[in-house]
Amino acid sequence: MKKQSRFVAGAVAVLGVIGYLMVTGMRDSMVYYFTPDELAAKVHADPTMHEVGVKVGGRVVPGTVVFDQRTLDLRFTITDIASGRTRFPVHYHGPLPDTFKEGRDVVAEGQLTAGGTFEAATVLTKCGSRYEGMQQQGGGGPS
């Protein structure tokens, strides 16, 4: 029986190491996901939130998209999908994401600076929603 408990201890040790990696990994890569409304409220309540990297999911306001093909600077205004209230400008540097368009829903990851501009490190486009609305679009399960 003593031997068996040694094996259990071995397994627990392995799981412990993996658990440690998970906990520290979580600390390094946890990112809050906000809607523009929530983010505005957060920053208002706690100005240190300007320094914290967050993800924000919102809609690209039509008519605000400016993309410089030479410098690859993308600027647009994002707004809350549900309420349409909060708006702030977003700046991103890099190739225009393929399905990026006015009126599309996007998720930007970055920081809302004290100047009020959201400096995005990544911009992801949610595809398909424009056509299918809330209804569907499995998109063939690209996985």
Partner: protein, 686 residues
């Protein structure tokens, strides 16, 4: 005509429900006639679903845009091929496709087992039909492909451009084949628990199904990576996206299962564990289908909220989890191990560690994937975890597995002696040390990459030595030439050597992944005639000269093509094209990357931006400024090569043996006979 498809769907649901009831009643009461009737209903369901699928494809081919599903995923100009594959281009169609595949496999199982495994078949049939009925219920109530619009549009809205890619047409079917195939061993597992026959029979009789499932899931995942690589255009192939993770989850438990059953067969251990692994694999397959289809968790690719379906799937999963857990608890006494672990230095211990790591990886991936939902439920805030989390946990696990890949197959059962260790590991360890020293000397400092190459060389050596030893022994005993001996060696032990080939493929794949550490990239804006240099990790330099921009119309789209002249260290090396495609029907622009593939690296060019795109098409601006994102991706081709080797290895293990075991004929089950009393032909295997 298309209406027939919808009628068939409803009839299939009714027949399926009827058959499931008959199967379980027949199993409980031992009435063979009911069981036979249930088995026939499986065939009927398959025929009906084939009709449904045929009707959907016909609706696509005939441009019947009054169907919402057709309108949403096709248009008149769409190439024939994509119209046919429209069956699985969206949620509703792919649920039909899923059910069709499951019905097909269920029919094959019923046919294969018409004379054998009779004590299993009532519950196997019942379980398969229950799963089918669930899918059919979801389809007819919440996701009907035959939903019509109030009017008939003149043209469809077209297929999502990112899905107009050949990988996309085979990647979902491959994954679905994998998911559905796992339902077969799961059904035998449930049946073993219900009937109480808990020896290794349910495992051995479904071994081939498990391997087929594993094969398709593996290539499905790799096809998905290829799709991401050529179509998503950011130079990577794995994003730790929820939908990608979802397909990885059943792969991890399925791989653990393929290994742990060997322990049960050899040593009678891990019976309970194997049952649990098979159940998790099936449940995770359903979970993956559901996650892909429901958009419950945000994902880059498929995206939409379809909450009623999400709740239906969650409810089904919940019932299945509780039901299967209850079954295992009920039968826990019969799942006790026959022997115990004796030493850390044994094959059993290596396999156990392998299983522990696979399951831990599964939990880590599941946790990271579900965390946005969990955190929202607990704290009210959605918190996402990114790739750093997944890499941090899974890279060390992957490296340990890479080492086990070399240790497991050659270490002795029960307890390894010092002599066994010396004999098997002296050469591989020496090779690994030499490789490590050479890499350090050439300036490789990336710890994970270094470890990968060292462990890969260790494992590869053990595999090569195994083949070498086997071939030499056979050549000596049988007096055959080396090549003939090698072929015969593999033929006689397909499962073992097929497994080694899979291992070798995985080693190659791991090296390909490690190559990412040495990638270089650049982003430049160029006018025609201007050039840019980019260095490769191998030491040479690419010079890319932007020549010109051309445009032309193709079916369904307008293409803008930037051509670049490529030179390697001054030598001409051809021309590369990278494109922007503007899809007319969807008013969407998609980048089509240019890839120059060599055996050791890819040169990857993304046409990131074109100044004044309209001017190019109108002809007012024939020489536009363009922005390029250029990457050199070392060893990426090895990932695909490794995948190919893995596929070949799995097929080797799967291929029917040349010398078939003598067939034992079992008496045909006559109506009314109690299934449990039919003598069992032990030698015949699926």
């Amino acid at each position: 005509m298309t209406q027939i498809g919808e009628i068939a769907l409803w009839v299939a649901l009714l027949v399926g429900a009827w058959g499931a009831t008959l199967a379980f009643v027949g199993g409980r009461t031992g009435r063979g006639d009911l069981v036979l009737s249930a088995e026939r209903s499986v065939w009927v369901v398959f025929a009906l679903l084939a009709t449904t699928a045929g009707a959907i494809i016909s609706a696509f081919l005939h441009d019947e845009f009054r169907y919402e599903y057709v309108t949403g995923h096709s248009n008149r100009e769409l190439p024939f091929f994509y119209k046919v594959t429209g069956l699985w281009a969206g949620q509703t169609g792919s649920l039909v496709f899923w059910s069709l595949l499951l019905a097909l496999f269920s029919s094959i199982v019923v046919f294969q087992n018409r004379r054998r495994n009779r004590e299993f078949m009532p519950y196997v049939t019942g379980t398969l039909l229950v799963v089918l009925v669930f899918f059919l219920t979801v389809i007819v109530t919440q996701s009907n492909p035959f939903t019509t619009l109030d009017f008939t549009p003149t043209d469809g809205r077209g297929l999502n451009p990112q899905l107009q890619n050949y990988w996309m047409t085979i990647h979902p079917p491959a994954l679905y084949l994998g998911f559905t195939c796992f339902t077969i061993p799961f059904a035998f597992c449930v049946s073993a628990l219900l009937s109480g026959r808990l020896d290794t029979r349910w495992i051995t009789t479904t071994r081939r199904w498990t391997l087929v499932a594993w094969f398709f899931l593996t290539i499905g995942i790799i096809f998905g990576m290829m799709w991401a690589y050529v179509e998503l255009g950011w130079g990577g192939f794995w994003f730790w996206d929820p939908v990608e993770n979802a397909s990885l989850l059943p792969w991890l438990t399925g791989t653990a299962f393929v290994h742990s059953v060997m322990i049960q067969e050899k040593r009678g251990m891990l019976k309970m564990w194997n049952v649990l692994l098979m159940m998790s694999t099936f449940l995770l397959s359903i979970f993956a289908t559901f996650l892909t289809r429901s958009g419950l968790i945000e994902s880059v690719h498929s995206f939409a909220q379809n909450l009623p379906i999400a709740y239906t799937f969650l409810a089904f999963l919940g019932v299945m989890v509780v039901g299967t857990a209850g079954l295992v608890w009920w039968r826990r006494d019969r799942l006790a191990p026959e022997s115990r672990l004796e030493s850390f230095l044994s094959r059993e211990a290596a396999f156990l560690l392998n299983n522990l790591l696979f399951v831990a990886a599964m939990f880590a991936v599941l946790w990271g994937t579900m965390f946005p939902l969990i955190s929202e439920g607990v704290s009210g805030h959605k918190i996402t975890v990114g790739p750093p989390f997944f890499n941090r946990v899974n890279i060390p696990i992957g490296l340990l597995l890479l080492a086990l890949l070399g240790i497991g197959p050659v270490i002795a059962w029960r307890k390894a002696t010092a002599r066994n260790l010396r004999r098997n590991f002296t050469l591989p360890v020496s090779v690994a040390l030499v490789v490590g020293t050479v890499l350090l000397a050439t300036g490789v400092r990336h710890v994970y990459a270094l470890l990968t190459f060292v462990l890969a060389s260790f494992t590869m050596t053990t595999v090569v030595v195994e083949f070498w030893k086997g071939t030499r022994a056979r050549a000596r005993i049988e007096g055959e030439g080396a090549a003939v001996a090698l072929i015969h060696l593999v033929q006689r032990n397909r499962r073992r050597y097929g497994g080694y080939i899979v291992h070798a493929g995985l080693v190659v794949l791991f090296c390909g992944l490690a190559g990412k550490a040495f990638g270089t990239e650049k982003e430049v804006a160029l006018s025609p005639g201007e050039w840019v240099d980019i260095r490769s990790a191998w030491g040479h330099t690419y010079r890319l000269t932007y020549q010109d921009m051309s445009w032309y119309t193709a079916p369904n789209m307008t293409k803008l093509v930037a051509s670049m002249d490529v030179r390697i260290d001054g030598r001409r090396a051809g021309v590369m094209a990278s494109e922007k495609r503007s899809y007319r029907q969807r008013e969407e622009v998609v980048s089509e990357v240019g890839i120059r593939r060599a055996w050791n690296e890819d040169l990857y060019v993304i046409l990131a931006g074109i100044e004044d795109m309209d001017g190019v098409v109108r002809g007012t601006n024939p020489r536009p400024l363009a922005t390029f994102h250029i990457l050199v991706n070392p060893l990426v081709p090895w990932i695909w090569l490794g995948g190919l080797i893995m596929a070949i290895g799995t097929l080797t293990a799967l291929w029917p043996s040349a010398e078939a075991p003598p067939r034992v004929r079992a008496p045909r089950l006559s109506a009314g006979a109690r299934p449990a009393r039919v003598p069992e032909p032990e030698l015949v295997e699926a």
